[in-house]
Point group: C4
Chain length 219, copies 4
């Protein structure tokens, strides 16, 4: 993509504010789920903030589509990650890595090695997926009859054992909503963890092979 | 393979009808398993449909063998996927990807990138394997003494946690039939998920490395 | 290695008989473990057969070492798989693949593709590891107080969910012996399954990329 | 890095003593956790030894930073493994592989193949992570109300099923401290196991492909 296209300029100008907006969205959702004893006025504030932010994200998505042009379905497919984060705005902070790259680039700092960046990106995404998933499942399960997930600590522990595919089974979602979110987490977690371990494995091989080259050859 | 060989022409002519037939087979099986209160006349219709469709698949398999020629065992080995879908006709819709490719090809649309196609193919296969496995295990477990899998929702949830290897253990098959099908699902699921995560990992590395090339080099 | 060295000739002459001996060893062990009501005379026959076969394997190992020459530790390290199968003779049938290769080679049949051979080898090894592990753990657990593994069917189901890392936890070893064998199975199973899924993933990528090359290029 | 730089000389001179110190640290920790009936005098000796050794590691870390120079954060990031082992000194024995390499190098022995070294390194790290994690979690869980982890044998078995992601769930940590350590183990174990299985898979492919080249080509 050309760096001077209207699309690239739109991205550069809005990226940081949209990232802050996405963190605010996550915070508002977390407040609504976790702060049980919050007065209902503040609960409504959280809700309206989320709706407003989501509208903002939707506007950004539509603007990007108009700037690219073409059929909507084609845009939705080629900008797959944007489509996902409009539908699941909790995952929007995933866009932190391009942002971090852009900031470092302006400061002229050398960037991390390729594998390190993939690992950093996938690990951050996994953490975010785990946190957002724990929040969403906890909201579904809280108060359900027969639920084994009683505190948010339980939900975080459940998310960790689910994404790592350990799955002890001491805590499991029992509601249909919770199980559906859990399936999305399993699918996303597996893909991301595969990326982490695959890159880590290539990276280790690369480091070890570079060390071999450095030293004098042996029979 | 030559595009004008009798084998290729047979494939082009029959592919779409056989794909629709395989969806019908899956639907008939699902109806038989899930629609408990269906009158027995319709249950028989489902059964006869399945037998007829399976015969159709078997005829297609034999025709392909005769078109290729040679010894049967050699054909069965070199056309391994065809052999599998004749034995396990529930998995026949797996052939959707070559079909989708063929259709897009006629319409002159550009095809997806290599990794995206592998991921799409393996993900669809995983979904199909999970759905067919949930149906088959549910049929075995339903009504077994001590079964923890009570509804089809339970069966889908069990299939998701099995294929992702999370395995909470809140729902487990207890019959020999259910466990045997579960072992096939584990083997197939692992292979397919490995393909998804492996391709996703290579894809991420490729995307990140392309981005690096695009930007000006840094020390 | 030179095909005419004394080592290679020893291998060619003894390979088939030793493979049959290793199957006999596995069968004798299975008989001892599974045939509970077998008269003690036949139990002793099984035991003596196992001891005799193990001595045979040890002699083969020492002969190989003498043919190669050099220090023992160096031989043990460079012929790692031989060392493993002398210590754990239940796994000796793993050597089936080189044998199968050798037989096909004599008959002049074309060999399977590289990835297919790795997948076949690793899958067979996984099956063997699972069967031998199920036998060995069943022998430890049978009759232990509080054991959840009651029949050999349970043991096979447990082995499948362990090697696939699903781990429902409906059946778990409770004795120290059973748990120790289970840890070896986990380590071996993970390595082998990683090889299966890794090769399957590369293979799919290769097949899809070959298909892309075959068809006319598109924009 | 230049082999004659002050940093490299510092590393060569201190490596072996620091490795022995790290083993002593692990032993002192294990003694404190496992030897329940040890008189409190010896418990204090263990504690003071650990504090002294940790100070030694911290001094080594600071000296390395001063020898490299530059900003602290930059050093902490580029010497990531050193930073990790200063914060989690139980994992310090991980540095065994560079040491083993250095010793073999002096003796002029040929080194292991690339993949074998990655596998050896990652397997040793996994074992160490499992042992240290079992100790640390056992210390948290011991005596907690409702704990299912009663003996150190239980802790080792739990660590094995966690790192291999089998996760039966027969034993699970229930305290917040134990669960936090378990999450670190899951993250580290997945990365290391991914490295083991990835390298093993590449290694098998390489061995099989070398065998193919060796034999006469077939149609």
């Amino acid at each position: 993509m050309d760096d001077d296209s209207p699309y690239a300029r739109w991205e550069q100008r809005t990226e940081i504010s949209l990232f802050l907006a996405s963190l605010l969205f996550l915070a508002a959702y977390a407040a609504r789920v976790l702060a049980v004893s919050m007065p209902s006025f503040w609960k409504d504030v959280c809700l309206y903030t989320m709706v407003a932010l989501w509208l903002l994200f939707a506007v950004d998505y539509v603007v990007r589509w108009r700037l690219v042009g073409g059929r909507f379905l084609h845009f939705a497919r080629t900008h797959f990650l944007h489509t996902v984060v409009v539908l699941l705005p909790l995952l929007r902070p995933l866009r932190i890595v391009p942002l971090y790259d852009a900031i470092q680039h302006r400061q002229g700092e050398p960037r991390l090695a390729l594998h390190a960046r993939v690992i950093a990106y996938a690990s951050l995404s996994t953490l975010l997926l785990g946190f957002a998933g724990a929040l969403a499942v906890y909201q579904q399960e809280r108060g359900a009859p027969g639920a084994t997930m009683r505190t948010f600590g339980d939900a975080v522990w459940w998310a960790a054992e689910t994404i790592s595919t350990v799955g002890y089974g001491d805590i499991t979602p029992v509601t249909t909503g919770g199980r559906t979110i859990a399936m999305v987490m399993m699918a996303g977690g597996l893909a991301l963890l595969g990326a982490v371990t695959g890159s880590f494995s290539s990276w280790l091989l690369q480091i070890f092979s570079r060390e071999s080259d450095k030293k004098p050859p042996e029979s």
